[in-house]
């Protein structure tokens, strides 16, 4: 019983406005890229360069890492939000920290630990025969993509879990099911929509990741489509680099279309349940509480604290390779990073861009999510698909699209062009975040509103829109955090005076000043963790548990 949209002016207007926005912000730049990509025939050249292998590697690494990320995220959500594990709130922040470290910085930290002569491998080789695990190669790419994407999946899944009423589980418990059984038979199936939504989001954005496959894939000849793009741009000898790069971009677009189509097929069949009437009861772990806590904490710290410690130790040393002793510790790198010309400008611009992108994506993404999931119309599929597409396009290709559009519109070399690129790239985060709660809301509520005399638009606004606001806020926060550490798009779109924090870090690193780059990354991570803590604190207070 969805409301039908034809003949309803305000709803049609909303739909038209949304089409206008996604056309301007997404379709136009994509069209620019596609028209260049089809400008010449590069099929032979690309086949010769091994595009088939690269495409397979991209698909496998993105698919596997998304699968692992979702599994970890579901486990995390259940453990943190449904049990009485000691230190849950702090643990949540610890586990979310990879979200705040730029992937290329994380990759450097991990290669220092698990490279062929990395710290852990050296230690292992001296005690046992041979190294523990060499991170370079496809397995390392999957591992790091997983580490950097499970927090995103967790935030979407946790938001969905909070909306599942515990009455159902209690009913199962009263009927004699054990707590575990109630969890697996009742709650997990209801999480499916959110799991599929986060899987698609993570898989599609991992398709486009550059930093991780470049730093841990290429050393072992593991090429993905996004690192291949760089090869063609970098080489001063390719005749038409933009055409070739855009052609690869088209391949990625096609992969994304397939992913989103699958998402629509799989995610449609979620059951709708009424919102929570009583707070969820936490599962008492009883005697296992302390040992279970210890195990989870150990795992969490191994994945999150090691790279942060590695960053911190770099930030406090004057140069790489200097022994870590009290006498050598210095604040020089941190002071140098903060006072570097461009850092202050970068911080200011990044805050502006992050907040701007978060607000625009939050509002537009929420409206899109409501219209696409709660109304019936043939163009819903189109709207949804267009919103998801940019996730799969590497930042470099999005940036090329906006460079071209920017030149024609006079946005070139301004902050607005970066903002436009961010909105295009991150809109899907909010759309996916609001999808789960919206799809799990039964149509009954809207029907009640309608039968009390509300117009379809009013019913949508009062019921669905308001219900999904918390998820949209989560999505907006995610957009802001992603924007702050964004690098590939910004690098190409910055101009004098518009540089971003990611570019500042990258410039320091390129100049060989790793310690300052590490210091700045650490500050970003700490500021982000503090921000997340604040957001979590606010939402925790809202909850009645």
């Amino acid at each position: 019983m969805y409301c039908r949209s034809h003949g309803v002016t305000s709803l049609s207007l909303t739909r038209a406005a949304l089409w206008l926005v996604v056309t301007a912000m997404i379709l136009v730049p994509i069209a620019a890229v596609v028209s260049i990509g089809l400008g010449g025939n590069h099929v032979a050249e690309l086949l010769d360069a091994g595009i088939v292998d690269a495409a397979i590697n991209s698909l496998v690494s993105a698919g596997l890492s998304a699968l692992f990320a979702v599994v970890i995220a579901v486990a995390m959500a259940l453990i943190l939000d449904r049990t009485d594990l000691p230190g849950r709130s702090v643990l949540r922040l610890v586990l979310l920290s990879p979200l705040l470290i730029p992937p290329f910085v994380g990759a450097i930290a991990w290669t220092g630990l698990l490279g062929p002569s990395g710290t852990i491998n050296k230690f292992w080789a001296s005690h046992f025969s041979g190294p523990l695990w060499n991170i370079y190669g496809g397995d390392g790419v999957v591992f790091l993509l997983t580490v950097h994407s499970y927090p995103l999946a967790y935030l979407i899944i946790a938001a969905a879990l909070r909306r599942i009423p515990s009455d159902l589980e209690e009913a199962a418990r009263i009927s004699g099911a054990r707590p575990m059984r109630a969890l697996t038979d009742v709650t997990l199936p209801l999480l499916r929509t959110a799991a599929v939504a986060s899987f698609t989001l993570v898989a599609v954005s991992n398709l486009a990741d550059f930093g991780i496959p470049a730093l841990v894939g290429l050393p072992d000849r593991y090429v993905t489509l996004s690192t291949m793009i760089y090869r063609f741009i970098q080489s001063g000898t390719v005749a038409k680099p933009l055409e070739v790069v855009s052609a690869i971009g088209i391949v990625l677009l096609l992969l994304a279309v397939v992913a989103v189509a699958l998402d629509r097929l799989l995610g449609r069949r979620g059951a709708a349940v009424d919102g929570p009437s009583t707070p969820a009861q936490r599962l008492a772990l009883g005697r296992n509480r302390i040992p279970a806590g210890a195990v989870v904490w150990m795992l969490a710290l191994a994945v999150t604290a090691l790279p942060i410690l590695s960053l911190a130790s770099q930030a406090l040393l004057p140069a790489p390779g200097v022994p870590f002793t009290w006498a050598n510790l210095t604040m020089d790198s941190i002071v140098g990073a903060v006072t570097a010309p461009g850092t202050v400008v970068g911080i200011r611009n990044s805050i502006f861009l992050a907040v701007g992108a978060a607000v625009i994506c939050g509002v537009v993404g929420l409206a899109l999510g409501v219209v696409v999931t709660r109304t019936r119309s043939r163009d819903n599929v189109g709207l949804d698909l267009v919103a998801m597409l940019p996730q799969a396009i590497p930042g470099l290709v999005i940036a090329v699209g906006w460079l071209i559009v920017g030149r024609y519109t006079g946005l070139f070399d301004t902050r607005w062009v970066i903002l436009c690129a961010y909105v295009m790239a991150f809109l899907a985060i909010v759309v996916q975040a609001v999808r789960a709660p919206l799809q799990a809301t039964p149509p009954a509520l809207e029907e009640v509103a309608r039968s009390s005399g509300a117009s379809p638009m009013r019913a949508l606004y009062d019921v669905s829109w308001k219900l999904a606001i918390p998820a949209a806020v989560t999505g907006g926060v995610l957009v802001a955090l992603t924007a702050v550490r964004e690098l590939t798009m910004s690098v190409l779109l910055v101009a004098p005076g518009t540089q971003t924090l990611g570019v500042s870090i990258f410039n320091l690193q390129q100049a060989g000043d790793y310690n300052a780059a590490a210091a700045l990354s650490l500050l970003v991570a700490l500021a982000g963790i503090a921000g997340l803590g604040l957001v979590a604190g606010v939402t925790d207070r809202k909850k009645t548990s």
Binding site: V21, A24, I108, T111, G112, G115, P116, S117, L215, L218, P219, D220, R221, Y230, R231, I233, Q234, S235, G236, T237, V238, P241, L242, P318, A319, P320, G321, V322, N328, A340, P341, G356, V359, I360, V363, A399, L403, I404, R407, T409, G410, L411, F412, D413, T414, W416, L419, C420, V423, V491, L492, V494, A495, P496, N507, L508, Q510, A511, G512, Y514
Partner: protein, 324 residues
């Protein structure tokens, strides 16, 4: 904030410049930010009427930006200061550069001046063998040494797909009689770790992650100056180098200022700044960075540029097949 969408119609027009060279000069460069800032401060002091605007990025991003700008109209820069001679040869062949011979051309190292006069080298950036002084007692002193099995698993080098200098070096190695394909096979047998670019190589060697690296020399000097346990050897069997050339775009709005800028880059003062920034200079009246040898003492390789430019794609492909 929500006005952001409608604000997508606020064009910021670049200010037009007068013909006397005064006004704004736009430079695209791959120089590290702090270095280009220091250089421009010196230039502005000598030419107070010219305001220099810089867009700094890696060579690949510069290429992408230039290609996008050509797609939609004019290139937005007056001067390009980046990369290596083959990159400039490509731009020269596409008629994007104007001919200009700097005033001080007589004082310059003849090897780095384009005989056709479209660009001029501004630094000598040799690629050397760096090693971690804490981990390596017998450092390799020649390229040949790097194929020695005793260095297996210890070597790291930049990726020629990502680093312009590395692509150039690969073509030079394969073109050298004494090295060529057999040597590259020997190097590949030592399973080197292919890092993304020169920066991570220096980092990895200094930290001891991979104790031996193939990297540009100034990075090693900088790290050593800051206290890292790292030193370098200029390979005895020939040192390939790139020259970070400067060229003037035909599309540039401020040709006069661009000429002054190129003059300054290779002038005595401009080269003194380069030496202060740990670069080897392109003229011999400004000394060399502390601890660096005199240019005359280096066995610099000057292969035929046309041949290198032509063989580079094939060389990079061969590298990827063997080393990956």
């Amino acid at each position: 904030m929500t006005a952001g969408l409608s604000a997508c119609s606020e064009p910021a027009e670049p200010e037009a410049s007068s013909s006397g060279g005064d006004g704004t000069l736009t430079v695209y460069t791959s120089e590290p930010q702090a270095k280009i800032d220091a250089l421009n401060a010196e230039f502005t002091a000598a030419n107070p009427g010219i305001e220099v605007q810089v867009y700094r990025a890696g060579t690949g991003d510069l290429n992408a930006r230039i290609a996008s700008e050509r797609e939609t109209g004019k290139i937005g820069a007056d001067v390009l200061l980046a990369a290596d001679a083959p990159t400039f040869e490509g731009y020269k062949d596409e008629n994007l550069l104007v001919q200009y011979t700097p005033t001080d051309v007589e004082a310059l190292n003849a090897d780095i001046v384009d005989p056709d006069g479209y660009y001029v080298g501004t630094r000598i950036i040799p690629t050397v063998i760096a090693y971690n002084t804490g981990a390596v007692t017998e450092p390799p002193t020649s390229w040949q040494d790097l194929a020695d099995p005793k260095y297996k698993g210890q070597i790291t080098l930049p990726n020629p797909d990502v680093s312009g200098a590395a692509a150039y070096n690969t073509a030079v190695w394969l073109g050298e009689e004494s090295l060529g394909q057999p040597w590259l096979e020997g190097l590949a047998a030592n399973e080197p770790v292919v890092a993304e670019s020169n920066g991570p190589v220096g980092q990895s060697v200094a930290a001891g992650t991979q104790p031996i690296g193939i990297v540009v020399d100034y990075l090693v000097r900088e790290l050593a100056e800051k206290g890292s346990p790292i030193a370098l050897e200029y390979p005895t069997d020939g040192v390939p180098y790139i020259s970070q050339p400067a060229g003037i775009f035909a599309d540039g709005a401020n040709q006069e200022a661009a000429k002054k800028y190129v003059d300054f880059l290779v002038s005595k003062r401009g080269q003194e700044v380069a030496v202060e920034q740990q670069y080897l200079p392109v003229r011999d009246d400004v000394g060399t960075p502390e601890g660096a040898p005199a240019l005359a003492d280096l066995n610099l390789l000057n292969p035929d540029l046309a041949q290198i430019t032509a063989s580079q794609p094939e060389a990079v492909k061969r590298f990827n097949e063997l080393v990956g």
